[in-house]
Symmetry: C2
Subunit: 340 residues, 2 copies
DNA sequence: TATCCACACGCAAACGTTTTCGTAAGGTTA
DNA sequence: TAACCTTACGAAAACGTTTGCGTGTGGATA
């Protein structure tokens, strides 16, 4: 088992100094051609690779981006990661991914861990618990130590930093408008509790769309689901004996669950009830009927977030602070769950 | 913007030496109680956190596990990651995730990058291209440098290291047996091309099950799909005018795509055709009808892989090399796509 | 008073790099 | 031959830690 070879070892073998080896490998003119070639040959033979840790310590940067997301087993977030990776790799950055599992504590731990030397900056979507607690000290602290942070999707208005979001309200409005334009009048919404920022925004968009059509929103058409894991029974209770002709669901799971329940009730989609979801994931695409949905363009979000972050990382040190909020366009993908 | 505070700075402020600060923070008896308290108070005030990079360099270990997977936007792999994270976090390890995007080159780059200082060991599932090329020098090299590697799912028989797999053949056999026991006689299989190890193993399991039932396998009941992105048309062609009463698909996507096509052909599931899939993902669970499938227990795989790796990392240095192959049990999850 | 021992702390090396600066040897110029 | 310039290399600092060991101070002991 040959251990990793270091400059020191090469230097010893070749009976030159460490600095000579380092310079030779970098093709410095300070070193004679002869020595350069000898060193390089030796390095190649022993498969020398500079130690990243040492480089990080020396350069005081890691060339690594930290991503912290609420869930790793989640299609939307993974598409965002995909986008980040794309840009990061192009620019020679590595990516560390951690999941907070929607726990505030784990978010804090992960952030502090990565912040103490492992990453130069962060792309993050905050945990549910964090949004609930409204405690952002860990993020503020990270920024105040000079590490840029880009928030995406589940952002925090109070925090001054770069952000990448979709216009959740507008997306929801588009979805609802689509249903209205199809002639639907009794449109229910399946949404989340209010402390989830995106849930609230989407609910508002739904309400706005109704208002624009002079339709009075009805309390009993709004279901704020508490426990996602148990959404089936909540939705089932909600839909029982309810006379709706359309459903707007703020995520995929709610949409397909509703579809399933309607199916069991003997209702036809889209003939009896139309459904529009949010997030263009695998479920929407492959479900029968396939679901009309609002695409969030996750990969694009990742790309933009990564670019913003890298710009900050590679930008001038003392350029006046300037923070951007990028709003990614959503788009309606029309499929089978809404009639033409 | 207060920069990160270091031992040196604290030492300077308090007019003591760096070592005193370090020891004080560690509650060393060498340092007087008085000084200790002073240092700690100051450190807390300035929110001192030891620099991980420096620690890694000093200790020659990073307390980080590298995961390299073929795809990040993939339910099964993310569940594995979930399992790895669970164990890793318990044991104080960090996790770096990279995706090879099924490209050999990217796999090599990622591995070399992480191997040069960023991670102590690896958990990896190889890229399609790597299986095709049969070039494993990068993995061998990593191991020869003393970094343990645990392979999972898409493993490489030739490589001597820890492995975590499911018994793909047995799983496929279970699936096929299930169909046979329901009285199905004309069972088709939708599988991948042979160089994907798990695809081949599953195909073999299918064949074995048929043989045990004294049913001769028919070439025209076997579809080896080349291009996953284009599976719909391949499956559609395959299924046209084909008189089958059951389908075993080696993954979720093939299963639902087949279901969709059958639906369009006016065939009822499970009455006309039964379907069994592989991988218990979101699609299988939420599809209508929900799919009977073989669960791979991804999280469990992750947990076992992480444990194996950490055991190696924390084990004695010169204990005789010993490698384990853990086989995770698969299980049949019976749902609506196969009749009772 | 000379010796010894705790006590409390500092020095320095080490981890693997990069880079600035210094310098010896040899050659060129005046 | 003295002054100078190249060429080719080495020494050392720096990044932030940890830790073994050395050491000055003061008090206790003989």
């Amino acid at each position: 088992m040959k251990q990793k070879v270091t400059l020191k070892q090469i230097a010893k073998e070749l009976d030159v100094s460490i600095s000579t080896v380092s310079k030779a490998l970098k093709d410095s003119v300070e070193i004679s051609l002869d020595t350069r070639q000898k060193v390089k040959a030796f390095a190649k033979l022993y498969n020398y690779k500079p130690n990243n840790i040492a480089l990080s310590l020396k350069n005081r940067k890691t060339k690594t981006i930290g991503i912290i997301i609420p869930e790793i087993v989640h299609h939307f977030f993974t598409t965002v990661i995909g986008g980040v990776e794309k840009v990061a790799n192009e620019k020679g950055y590595n990516v560390i991914i951690c999941s907070s599992n929607n726990s505030f504590d784990k978010e804090v731990i992960n952030l502090e861990m990565l912040a103490s030397g492992s990453a130069d900056g962060f792309i993050l979507s905050v945990a549910k618990e964090t949004q609930q607690k409204k405690d952002y000290h860990h993020i503020e602290e990270t920024m105040s130590q000079g590490m840029p942070v880009v928030l995406f999707d589940r952002i925090i208005d109070e925090l001054v930093c770069d952000k990448v979001i979709i216009d959740d309200g507008k997306g929801a409005q588009t979805a609802t408008n689509h249903l209205l334009s199809l002639g639907c009048k009794k449109i229910a919404i399946l949404t989340t509790v209010d402390y989830i920022s995106v849930g609230k925004l989407r609910t508002n968009g739904y309400l706005r769309a109704l208002r624009a059509y002079d339709i009075t929103a009805r309390e009993d058409y709004i279901l704020k689901i508490e426990d996602i894991d148990n959404c089936e029974s909540e939705i089932s209770d909600f839909l029982e004996n309810k006379d709706v002709d359309a459903i707007f669901a703020v995520n995929e799971l709610f949409a397909v669950t509703a579809a399933k329940i309607l199916d069991e009730q003997g209702k036809k989609i889209p003939d009896d009830v139309s459904i529009v979801g949010f997030t263009d994931g695998i479920l929407s695409k492959h479900f029968i009927p396939s679901l009309t949905t609002i695409s969030q363009h996750g990969e694009e979000m990742g790309i933009r977030a990564a670019k913003l972050l890298i710009d900050k990382l590679e930008g001038e040190e003392d350029v006046p602070e300037e923070y951007k909020t990028v709003i990614i366009d959503t788009s309606l993908i029309q499929r089978q769950s809404t009639k033409k």
